[in-house]
């Protein structure tokens, strides 16, 4: 999603303004001039300034579309792939403890491979071996407490 220079400038300037306002609201420290908001307030001002400069330089150009959507949005295959990518991360972030690492990894490893053209059965073998290998590497060797989820008690 590419914004024109002017639109991006406005977005950045608004963001900078928000940072500035939020910083000024932070409480000060008694007896000290430079509170927690001092540095972020400077940043907010600079961000707003950079956004304004981008806006000004963008207004001189008439050849830019306001928004250019990524080319892959017209390709259903690619859109579904991105949706899977995002869904996989969200799924683990929200339900990771319930599902467990191994079931999650097998499904995601399999699905992504199949979507990118690996034959189903081969993808399944790679996914299963890969999930256990990753569990061995992180769970056993590096001692990360990966969630067992639905396999709790089985492993």
């Amino acid at each position: 999603m590419r914004l024109s220079d002017a639109a991006l400038g406005v977005l950045v300037a608004v963001l900078g303004g928000a940072v500035l306002i939020a910083s000024l609201r932070l409480p000060g420290v008694p007896g000290q001039e430079y509170g927690a908001g001092f540095f972020p307030a400077i940043l907010g001002t600079l961000i707003a300034g950079a956004g304004a400069a981008l806006f000004v330089s963008g207004m001189k150009r008439r050849d830019q579309a306001l928004v250019v959507l990524p080319a892959w949005l017209g390709d259903g295959w690619a859109v579904l792939n991105v949706a899977i990518l995002a869904a996989a991360i969200i799924l683990f972030a929200v339900f990771g403890d319930d599902i467990g690492f191994i079931p999650f990894a097998v499904v995601v490893l399999w699905l992504v491979q199949v979507r990118l053209g690996t034959p189903m059965l081969r993808a399944l073998v790679v996914a299963a071996v890969g999930a256990f290998a990753l569990h061995l590497l992180f769970g056993t060797l590096l001692r990360v407490p990966l969630p067992d989820g639905i396999l709790e008690g089985v492993l």
Binding site: G37, A53, W72, N81, L109, G130, V144
Partner: protein, 496 residues
């Protein structure tokens, strides 16, 4: 000092460290030779692992991985004209022309040899320059560090990408991200939006993985590739290599020096070094007309240059804590995670560790030759690894990597949010590297700034009252003025 060197050898030649170096080298070669996967992304993927290691193997893995990846990027550049990492882009065409002439082995041999030589030269520069600079830097206090930090950040924003304004926006964004959480100086929580997880601040690793890896995953999963690349038959990479190296010894040497210097510059790394050296080589060549037709001269110079930049980038990293490129920005994050604040004091506190880094650098560049030879022979298989498997494993590794640091699912969400941000930034030509530098250096810059202000009781002249600080201030102001002058004079569009 001898004790420290002996200890350093002990650290490096411990079986565990050697194993880590071996695995990281292999990973670097594979990631580097798969087009689209960069050395920086490799570092981002490695960092979650380093979290579980001792300092020496942690740093060693990053050194070995990045050295191998930068060299391995030359392999697909030569064989199929697709640079494996951006650092090989400058001479991909030249190398491929040699392949078309039926000399892929000659091109790859030169890439491998010049990479190893460049890497070792950069390391020697690091060994000589870092301790000497550290002696000077011990007299620094907060104003100097404030200006050095600002200098590093300015260079990162203005040198890295085409548009200084966009680089600046990225940098400010990174600095802002570093403000999230409890402020160490005042104990006040900032920008946490009531979230207890955010009170501790954004963890470096989920941010890093999100910003660098997620956009690459989006790209991998949205591009259709029709056919597997056709790999031309290989020729012996060692045949005539000695003669070629002797013929082009001057370009290799020049590449070493230019690469190291560019590496030292904060914000400019191996990619820029290769482009500059290729251009320098063409300009100073007696036969510039041969460039672009499959000529070894530019290849030798730029091949040495990008690897020597890796070593050079460590000089400001270790001595001042200012990263020379994106990879060393990640290294600083790792050093801080390991409780070792980079800076001149590191030479006094943990000299054995610094010597260990030096040894690892040399070791990595030496094993590049046999390992590179083996991988070139196997390149037919590496270049045809199914894309699906690569994307799938990177995705799952990113997720565990983000999770593993605090064993917190919240961090996986942070990674996704940063991934969306990173993707949006890439779409709009806003470079990601300055944001990482901002995040890493933000706390240091803020701390030194506030400390100096408190010392001077609000007197801004305090920032320039010491001679070295004043010189640094002039340099920083000069860079800002020159950039602003360039932008207004050329009236160039902001994304040019």
């Amino acid at each position: 000092m001898t004790d420290a060197i002996v200890m350093a050898f002990g650290h490096v030649f411990a079986p565990y460290t050697l194993m880590v170096i071996g695995i990281a080298s292999l990973l670097g070669i594979i990631l580097g030779s798969i087009p689209g996967l960069t050395a920086v992304m490799g570092a981002a993927l490695l960092v979650p692992f380093t979290f579980f290691m001792d300092p020496v193997p942690a740093i060693a893995s990053l050194v070995a991985m990045s050295a191998m990846a930068i060299f391995a990027g030359d392999i697909p550049a030569t064989l199929v004209r697709i640079p494996g990492t951006p650092a090989s882009a400058a001479y991909a065409d030249e190398a491929y022309k040699l392949t078309l002439k039926g000399q892929p082995g000659r091109a790859l041999g030169m890439c491998m040899a010049s990479s190893a030589i460049g890497g070792i030269f950069g390391t020697i520069a690091l060994i000589v320059a870092a301790p000497a600079l550290a002696t000077v830097a011990t007299s620094f206090s907060s104003p100097e560090y404030f200006w050095l930090g600002l200098l590093g950040l300015s260079c990162a924003a203005f040198l890295a990408a085409g548009s200084p304004l966009r680089g600046l926006i990225a940098l400010l964004l990174g600095l802002f991200l570093s403000c999230i959480g409890i402020d160490v100086a005042t104990g006040i929580t900032r920008f946490a939006f009531g979230s207890t997880e955010l009170m501790g601040g954004l963890d470096f690793i989920p941010v890093l993985v999100g910003l660098f890896a997620v956009p690459e995953l989006v790209r991998m999963m949205t591009t259709r590739i029709d056919a597997r690349p056709r790999i031309p038959p290989l020729t012996n990479i060692f045949r005539g290599l000695g003669r070629d190296l002797w013929t082009w010894r001057k370009p290799v040497m020049r590449g070493n020096i230019v690469g190291t210097l560019i590496g030292i510059l904060p914000g400019a790394g191996a990619d820029i070094a290769a482009w500059v050296s290729y251009a320098v080589s063409k300009k100073l060549s007696r036969t510039p007309e041969k460039f672009g037709t499959g000529h070894l001269e530019g290849l030798a110079e730029a091949g040495a240059s990008n690897n020597s930049a890796l070593g050079g980038a460590w000089i400001p990293t270790i001595v001042f804590g200012i990263p020379g490129d994106s990879i060393t920005a990640i290294v600083i994050g790792v050093l801080i995670l390991k409780g070792m604040e980079p800076g001149p004091a590191i030479f006094v506190k943990t000299p054995d560790l610094i010597y260990a880094v030096f040894i690892v650098f040399i070791l990595a560049n030496l094993i590049m030759v046999p390992l590179g030879w083996a991988v070139i022979r196997l390149s037919r298989h590496i270049l045809t690894v199914p894309r699906g498997a690569v994307a799938a494993f990177i995705l799952v590794t990113c997720i565990i990597g983000a999770y593993a640091i605090n064993n917190a699912l919240f961090d996986v969400g942070v990674m996704l949010a940063m991934g969306v941000l990173g993707w949006f930034m890439e779409e709009n030509d806003i470079p990601v590297a300055p944001a990482i530098l901002g995040l890493v250096l933000g706390k240091v810059v803020e701390f030194n700034f506030i400390q100096t202000m408190i010392k001077g009781q609000g007197d801004l002249t305090m920032l320039v009252s010491r001679p070295i600080a004043a010189v640094l201030a002039v340099v920083v102001v000069g860079i800002w003025a020159a950039t602003a002058w360039n932008m207004t004079r050329n009236r160039q569009p902001a994304h040019a």
